[in-house]
């Protein structure tokens, strides 16, 4: 059963169901409202906030539930607490690249880590229930805003300058003055303070800053747009986040571009601060154990592949651009961006050795073994050649049949079986990092390690985020609404100069302190008493009593 519209018995205006103060004259027309929930009638100008349609459909029930501020605040609180849980252990996004999550969490954090992982907390912010909470937040935002915003808009649009006497007395700021002569002057004084004047005979309405009331609704709209944008993230093709690992000199294809784009790492630069440069930082730099990095960047050449058809086929590359990618200075192409993320110099590029005889004399020149594509033999002198019989980039163990087993294909712990061939005689030895073992007996020659060179690999992040403009727009609108709602005050002053006495009442959505100050300045200049603050009197009475 729908509640009936209410006709004001004073001015005759027909009000929507549930309205407490007549939209036109402000008289109380409906005492039957939830006094516990609505403490300040003027918050929504006495208009009906919660639609009083008795719940019919399931949609009405759901809607009414989500219009509640208590529900909204609860949802916000649950989201905040859940977010906190996600900070107890690092999220999966932050663990080392390539690490197996289950292993990682168990190894580092024991049983707690395993449980944390099993419950899905390691990917908390994209978990189904967190997404669901965000969806409920969106529903709450929409329902609460529509339910309050629409009646408020109508009320403020239709408000009249002439208000019922009871309306005046109801306001927090109110006073009654003996003479009505100053009314017009006072109104003019307020107008000079940027108030807009609306008159109805001897009734004055002075208003400024109404925009402030729309602040919350604007900011809620911004948040809804932001939530919609972040939801788009899950749609294919909208969001791409990949790591590109490129060694110096290497050309790699850009992932997810289906072979259309390639880039070459023309050079990786790593600079550190000079601790003797004569600047004010010298002392700090000298005291620090590690070097402080001043810059690291990758100089790249971008290519477009003209024959991007079949996977695996050799690309035909055409150079399209050059750039130096540094932190805070990403490279943009198409919808993508390349960021300088970090670097890796843990992979060895080459190792240099030399041959020595039993007396320690060096024979011939040093020979350099390239660990990515090693040569099979190295001519040391006229008579002596060194052959590489076996090589494992990441040495694990020796198989039964003599082959070297490698744990990974990455040269981080290389081992070699070298054969020193002099004419018909051959000697074999196994070389590892910091360790050399003779395989044949009584070797005359030994191979000594000279130096190693590392690969400088640049780690770049490839990003494409089509949802970002939407999310950004949403947040900007949110900020605008927030600033409008917070920094502007909506002030209204009513003056009733009809009759023998002049009634003045005022309302603001915040900062009564400032409103009082402003009003009292005008009142004082017209030799009138200060405006009376109902709430201040109540507070003082409470303290005394």
């Amino acid at each position: 059963m729908e509640q009936k519209e209410i006709q004001c018995n004073h001015c005759g205006h027909v009000n929507p169901p549930g309205t407490q103060l007549c939209q036109s004259c402000g008289k109380m027309i409906n005492e039957d409202y939830d006094k516990k929930k609505i403490k300040d009638l003027m918050r929504y100008d006495g208009s009906a906030v919660r639609s009083k349609v008795r719940s019919q459909s399931i949609f009405d029930k759901i809607w009414n539930f989500f219009t509640s501020i208590k529900v909204g605040v609860t949802i916000i609180a649950i989201i905040a607490i859940s977010a906190a849980v996600g900070t107890i252990l690092p999220q999966e996004y932050f663990i080392p690249i390539g690490a197996d999550p289950a292993q990682h969490y168990t190894e580092l954090y024991g049983t707690f880590g395993t449980l944390y992982y099993k419950f899905g907390f390691t990917q908390l912010y994209s978990s189904w229930w967190f997404v669901l909470l965000m969806g409920l937040l969106a529903l709450s935002l929409i329902a609460a805003s529509v339910d309050r915003g629409v009646p408020l808009y109508k009320s403020l649009k239709n408000q009249r300058a002439k208000k019922h006497a009871s309306f005046f007395k109801r306001q927090r700021l109110f006073n009654e003055y003996e003479s009505t002569d100053n009314a017009a002057d006072i109104a003019k004084a307020f107008e000079s303070k940027k108030y807009k004047l609306k008159t109805d005979g001897d009734h004055y309405l002075l208003e400024k800053g109404r925009l402030s009331r729309w602040g919350p609704y604007i900011n809620h709209t911004g948040l809804i747009i932001l939530l919609a944008g972040s939801m788009l993230r899950f749609f294919p093709g909208v969001y791409i986040d990949e790591i590109i690992y490129a060694q110096e000199g290497e050309t790699v294809s850009i992932p997810t571009t289906e072979g259309q784009y390639y880039m070459r790492n023309d050079g990786f630069t790593l600079d550190t601060y000079d601790e003797d440069s004569g600047t004010v930082f010298d002392e700090t730099l000298q005291n620090s154990m590690a070097l402080t990095i001043s810059n690291f960047q990758t100089d790249i050449t971008m290519y477009e592949n003209k024959t991007a058809d079949i996977v695996g086929s050799s690309p035909e590359l055409e150079e399209i651009d050059n750039y130096s990618i540094r932190v805070n200075h990403p490279y943009r192409f198409d919808d993508y961006e390349l960021y300088q993320s970090s670097y890796d110099n843990s992979q060895l590029k080459s190792m240099t050795f030399r041959l020595e005889d039993s007396e320690g004399n060096v024979l011939g020149e040093n020979f350099e073994v390239s660990l990515d594509d090693p040569a099979d033999s190295y001519k040391i002198t006229e008579d002596i050649t060194i052959n590489m019989k076996a090589y494992a980039p990441d040495f694990l163990e020796i198989e039964d049949n003599g082959t070297l087993v490698s744990e990974t294909p990455v040269p981080t712990n290389p081992a070699f079986v070298f054969e020193v061939a002099e004419g018909d005689e051959v000697e074999l030895s196994l070389l590892q990092i910091m360790n050399s073992t003779d395989i044949t007996q009584d070797n005359e020659y030994s191979i000594k390690f000279v130096e190693a060179e590392e690969h400088m690999a640049s780690v770049l992040t490839l990003k494409k985020d089509l949802s970002m403009p939407i999310i950004a727009t949403g947040f900007v609108i949110f900020l605008i609404g927030l600033f409008i709602g917070s920094y502007i005050n909506h002030r209204r002053i009513w003056i009733n100069a009809e009759g023998d006495t002049m009634n003045v009442a005022a309302h603001t959505n915040k900062n009564y302190f400032g409103l009082k100050k402003e009003m009292n300045a005008v009142l004082e200049s017209h030799h009138l008493a200060e405006i009376f603050d109902k709430q201040e009197k109540e507070e003082n009475d409470k303290l005394k009593g």
Binding site: D60, I62, L132, V146, P236, I310, V311, V405
Partner: protein, 176 residues
């Protein structure tokens, strides 16, 4: 607000949010399983073999079923699996081909590895030097074996080591 308008707004909003949430959650949950699966079309590719020949998948599947075996020299199960595959292969392979796709290693390492096996391999070894084929098939652990039939459709996929029976099963599937 008119009763009718109100009803539309309420119902519309709730349904829209429910639908959007549903789609989002579905996509979210599905995201983790983005691999090439049984029933999908096999991604065509062109790779060079260890012998220097060029192989194109679609050319082979035009006539034969194909077993793709993704492997690496550091992968222990591969060392056991490959000789067995070779034995089965040599029993007769008129209708199918095995292609061992090596995941981005240099020829020297591969040669070294092959020389250490209990027998020489007779089927082609394709070199996926920049991992593009491996990525296109979203290969995770190694070895992974995929069977593709003459229509170019993936009919079987198995991760980790195959037994001899598994190998036979793969061949049978690829022929269908």
């Amino acid at each position: 607000m008119k009763k009718g308008t109100r009803k539309i707004i309420r119902t519309g909003t709730i349904i829209t949010i429910a639908v959007l949430l549903g789609v989002t959650l579905y996509l979210n949950l599905r995201d983790g399983t983005q691999t090439v699966n049984v029933g999908d079309d096999a991604v065509d590719f062109k790779l060079e073999t260890l012998d220097g020949e060029e192989l194109q998948l679609s050319e082979i599947t035009a006539e034969n079923g194909v077993i793709l075996n993704f492997w690496g020299t550091w992968c222990k199960p591969c060392r056991e699996e490959m000789p067995e595959m070779n034995q089965v292969y040599n029993e007769g392979h008129e209708d199918y081909e095995i292609i061992a796709v090596n995941v981005s290693e240099n020829p020297q390492q591969i040669e070294q590895f092959l020389s250490g096996l209990s027998e020489d391999l007779d089927y082609p070894i394709a070199l996926d030097s920049n991992r593009s084929v491996t990525k296109a098939y979203n290969i995770g652990p190694l070895p992974t074996t995929i069977a593709i039939n003459k229509e170019g459709v993936v009919v079987k996929k198995q991760e980790y080591q195959l037994t001899k029976e598994d190998i036979y099963a793969f061949i049978d599937e690829s022929l269908e």
